[in-house]
Symmetry: C2
DNA sequence: CTTTCGACTTGAACCGATTCAATCTATCAA
DNA sequence: TTGATAGATTGAATCGGTTCAAGTCGAAAG
């Protein structure tokens, strides 16, 4: 087929580089000594050391090739962060960005490298995980987390799962207490005087969107959404709010999806005075749409988010939300991989409610 | 002593894992065949293939170790992005983030991995570059670009420099026409009617901050700042503005530094009606400070930035600026490394002025 | 009954370093 | 002069795969 190309390919300069053994030979020392010149200079007599360096320079030796070292040493001194999203996710998504700040900080501190491992299609993701040159993985289980865990487990390297929807006690994981966090959000609104609520949920299951029943919540694939829902319900029950009266709509975290969710919630028998959004992303979409319709937040409706991404602080109005210690989660993840060396380590970090301008007491208007 | 261990059949510690050769032996095939089972399955008789897989499963083989493959294959199929900043820079800095989006997009598309290589102290940076397992580097020459280029050159891998202050014709680089961009900014303001200007510059040299003379500009280490300055000057000259009358202050791109720069510029003999900022970062600091002092933008003073980071669009007021095709630069950089395989490739991408609310005609007030 | 051919397999040679036990060489004390 | 000691150097054994020329085997062709 491409024989012509193959031919010219052969002609191509065989630019094989200078190896350590070449340098050693040329300098008249053993390869062992040559190796020492570069990695443990103090073991070599200055005179010899200089001669080898000189030879290396003359030959254009690029220094010890990390590939060789790697094979021998075993550790690549880098950790991989993996997710089932396109690579650009790491730089676009607010949550990921803050998380990566924590991760990169910890890596920097420990002198570890950082590799981004990612792909949207699972075949390539599998390959990327198989072939990543790292000592361990941080798994960002946003979507398709189980698959990700499974793929990584095969690699037999230490890993820690983050934001894992489905808890599996046998793997290391770092997360937050979604249930308690949801309670905080609900309590906050209830204490402000709200009694009519709507919930904009994040994914309970792989593909569903739309109003959700109690049975569906119980059968949720992702425990994150389930726990948050139960947190809301349990807390609101304390204030006499019947969960059956709360419209809850499962969104796909897109603007359009949230729009539909908002419509559903606002068109119920009695309009809620407060919206519980299961993520800041969803909450902020809701904020946009409410503004579009001239519904004032928090005068007409209060909105509380979840996650605490930086954008929440500068939304208009600034979003009251349950903040996760995102960067800290990242730092701990790195620490877990680098220190707990493979052992199972599970950890749940505390959440905190940050009161901003998107929530207030229900007004007479509503 | 070790013979005893050999006798007992080499007790394998939990630490070291099963190798391909172990699987081959156990399955009763040659290592070559075992290798083919995993990397070229079609070459192996289905029956044998299955037997080997079975054996692998029983032994708990994790699959071919990428380290071995790497050494043999040569290519790691990943590119490194290097900079002389802490690692978190990639996720914090707006310019870097957009750039990384372009880079990661291109990597995704070509199935290449992405490694972040970085460190604040140059000793560690050197080591990190020496030991990065990548096929090429994208150099983000924000700070200390020359050192970065030098370190990378030693590695003898293809690389391309981005935002390199000091042009060196012998290396691959992708950049923008700073001179033309500056002209656009200046022309925009001049055409709005401005005749009194102040310039908030970015770094001309390694360590200096403060008012800058013409001679200092001519002797600048970084051509980016120099070219932008000259672009401003040349264009303004066409409108009869004498460069000697323009106060120019070299900032360190920090809030404090910009504050001092602004004070210097505003305290001149005649207050400018327009500020030319050499970066959006600097421009946005200036915006903040002008707001603080109750100076209206653009009523009292117009401000135009440079770079076109996303934040500029949402600043208050939204910043008029010269936008670089940042993501495109990233994409091209990856392409350059992966395709031009080492050859020198230089490219200059076009800039574009985006007119927003931070500029307007000088009002009677000023 | 040979030959030929194609489909698998094998075995050994790499890939580029690090490591460590063994050896060699001065140096110094007895 | 003889050891002992410390320091420098060597050589060979890894590390864990991939690759490819050469060999094996069975079936189809002559």
């Amino acid at each position: 087929m491409a024989d012509g190309a193959a031919e010219t390919g052969k002609v191509r300069m065989a630019r094989d580089l200078v190896r350590l053994s070449d340098v050693a030979k040329a300098a008249g020392v053993s390869q062992g000594t040559a190796s020492n010149v570069f990695s443990r200079p103090d073991l070599v007599r200055p005179e010899v050391r200089e001669r080898v360096h000189q030879t290396a320079r003359e030959l254009g030796y690029a220094g010890p090739d990390p590939r060789g070292r790697l094979l021998r040493a075993g550790k690549s001194n880098a950790i991989g962060v993996a997710t089932a999203e396109p690579l650009s996710y790491f730089f676009e998504d607010p949550f990921a960005r803050v998380l990566m700040q924590g991760i990169s900080e910890a890596c920097d501190q420990r002198g570890a490298g950082l590799a981004l491992v990612s792909a949207r299609n699972s075949e390539r993701l599998a390959w990327n995980i198989q072939s990543a040159l790292v000592d361990g993985f941080v798994l960002l289980c946003i979507e398709n987390g189980e698959k990700l865990v499974e793929l990584t487990r095969e690699r037999q390297l230490p890993f820690v799962a983050l934001a894992l929807g489905k808890p599996d006690e046998t793997i290391s994981a770092i997360g937050v207490d979604d249930y308690a966090g949801a309670q905080m959000a609900a309590r906050h609104l209830a204490q402000l005087g709200h009694r009519r609520f709507g919930i904009l949920a994040i994914e309970f299951d792989e593909t569903h969107e739309g109003p959700v029943s109690g049975a569906e919540i119980a059968a949720a694939t992702y425990s994150t959404a389930r726990d948050r829902a139960y947190g809301y319900f349990e807390e609101l029950a304390l204030y006499g709010v019947d969960r059956e009266t709360i419209p809850i709509y499962e969104t796909r975290s897109t603007a359009e999806s949230v729009r539909r969710g908002l419509e559903h919630i606002l068109s119920g028998p009695q309009r809620p005075t407060a919206i519980l959004a299961m993520s800041d992303r969803v909450a902020m979409f809701a904020l946009d749409m409410l503004a579009e319709r001239g519904i004032s937040v928090p005068l007409d409706i209060s909105v509380v988010g979840f996650d605490g991404v930086p954008e929440a602080a500068t939304a208009s109005p600034p979003l009251t939300t349950v903040v996760q210690p995102i960067a800290e989660i990242g730092r701990r993840a790195v620490k877990t991989i680098l220190e707990h060396d493979g052992g199972v380590h599970r950890e749940s970090l505390p959440l905190e409610l940050v009161f901003r301008r998107s929530t207030g007491a229900p007004s007479a208007r509503s």
